[in-house]
Subunit: 263 residues, 2 copies
């Protein structure tokens, strides 16, 4: 697809809806917030909403739709959640059953949609302030680790927090904290700075998900809550049915990252 990275969110969603784009969304519609998707049956919705309320750093809710609703109101005015995401994963009882390009056929009136913030939003802001983001420099996926920080449980949902790691030059750690603190709705401030062992991580070279990245001399590992947490927690609860975006294939909203930073 030529010049897709110059298109507006609305235009990209239209291509996705028509089945003309089913690839990852990183780098598309720069400046606009992208969101993680979790769809659950109504019977799990209160517990999951409560889990997100209790764990806002790993589960920063951007929008929740009432049962059966598939049109967003806050993140965009013309999107259809059943068709506007490049790829969906369908899980039954916690096991991946299929990866599909739309979910119109299987949509039911008791589906509840949750859209959650993603760290793409604050990485743009770090780069603008000349704080390096190593996995972007090395064209890798961000390294993710299952920490020993327990999420606050809610109903059937419980488990450890998954965190991302970004090596930050010591003299810029302060700046990284300040910048990400503004983005409360996309994971916010770090959950840990420094010694990985303190949060149960043994080897930074062996992430549980994503790729290892180079840590240069004088850099400190800084850890943020990760949007993989809610997905891992949901899978662990083995709900009858759960639909998510396929990792990397996000919902592109009309909201600017800068709008998310406002308090």
């Amino acid at each position: 697809m030529k010049n897709i990275d110059r298109l507006l969110p609305k235009e990209i969603r239209s291509l996705i809806r028509k089945g003309k784009w089913d690839k990852p969304t990183a780098g598309l519609a720069m400046g606009y917030a992208q969101a993680n998707l979790v769809i659950l049956l109504e019977k799990y919705a209160f517990d999951f909403l409560l889990f997100c309320q209790r764990n806002p750093k790993p589960c920063p809710l951007l929008e929740v739709l009432e049962p059966g609703k598939y049109r967003t109101e806050f993140l965009s005015s013309d999107a259809d959640i059943r068709t506007d995401i490049p790829r969906y994963n369908i899980y039954r009882e916690g096991r991946l059953e299929a990866t599909v390009k739309e979910i119109k056929e299987i949509w039911k009136s008791d589906f509840v949609t949750f859209l959650l913030g993603c760290s793409f939003s604050f990485e743009e802001s770090l780069l603008r302030a000349k704080v390096p983001v190593r996995h972007l420099e090395e064209k890798k996926n961000v390294p993710m680790f299952i920490s020993n920080i327990a999420c606050k449980p809610a109903g059937v949902f419980h488990g450890p927090m998954v965190v991302t790691m970004r090596p930050i030059p010591a003299e810029k750690v302060n700046r990284a904290v300040q910048i990400t603190s503004r983005y409360v709705s996309v994971h916010g401030a770090p959950v840990h700075i420094g010694d990985p062992k303190k949060i149960g991580i043994r080897d930074l070279k062996k992430p549980d998900f994503g790729d290892p990245v180079t840590i240069q001399k004088g850099e400190i590992p800084v850890f943020w809550a990760c949007g993989v947490t809610p997905q891992a927690i949901v899978m662990k609860a083995k709900p009858d049915l759960c639909i998510t975006h396929t990792p990397g294939h996000m919902f592109i909203s009309d909201l600017l990252n800068e709008e998310l930073a406002a308090l």
Copy 2:
């Protein structure tokens, strides 16, 4: 009660539990966060939780308990929500039926408890920075107005935002915005600064609730989202049953206001 204003939250809650304090809680346990209470039947809980998620400024959730639970975990480790509030209002279908000192007898396993932040928390911080809080100076209740700002509806819950007004000297408005912005979980930054007509308020001398306060020359009316909003919204929906604290008779938590200010 002698020296009650010097007691710790735990000690005051114990007095309340024993029926030895049933008066308002303003001025007690200074430095500690106080919370508004809303108890609803489980069938309304998802809609109300969603309403709070969509309207965090008027409805800043501090803690939500699972159906039937009456012990807080986050706001204190030893509190019983059925006995530790000085006075409760019981509403049936939106009408006040009774005011009682405890709700142990009527407690049911499908009651869901919501505790919401209150502006007491940021007023302390304003005073410390020498930003005047007029209604405290004049020993009045804060003036509250029904604005024309619509809350984002959720399920059966919808209606206008109730706001509080504090007159701030022009040269300190900036400081008032900065300070209250830090307190996201207790209404946060103002929702409007200046001309009351812009948000549908005709006469600052005639508040819908609370008392009018003096606006001095060179002062600008500044408006914050008010915790009366969720109560007004709930009453409008006329649920079979709803229990709240009696206005002014709040839950006193073990959480410091300063802890709420952290991001």
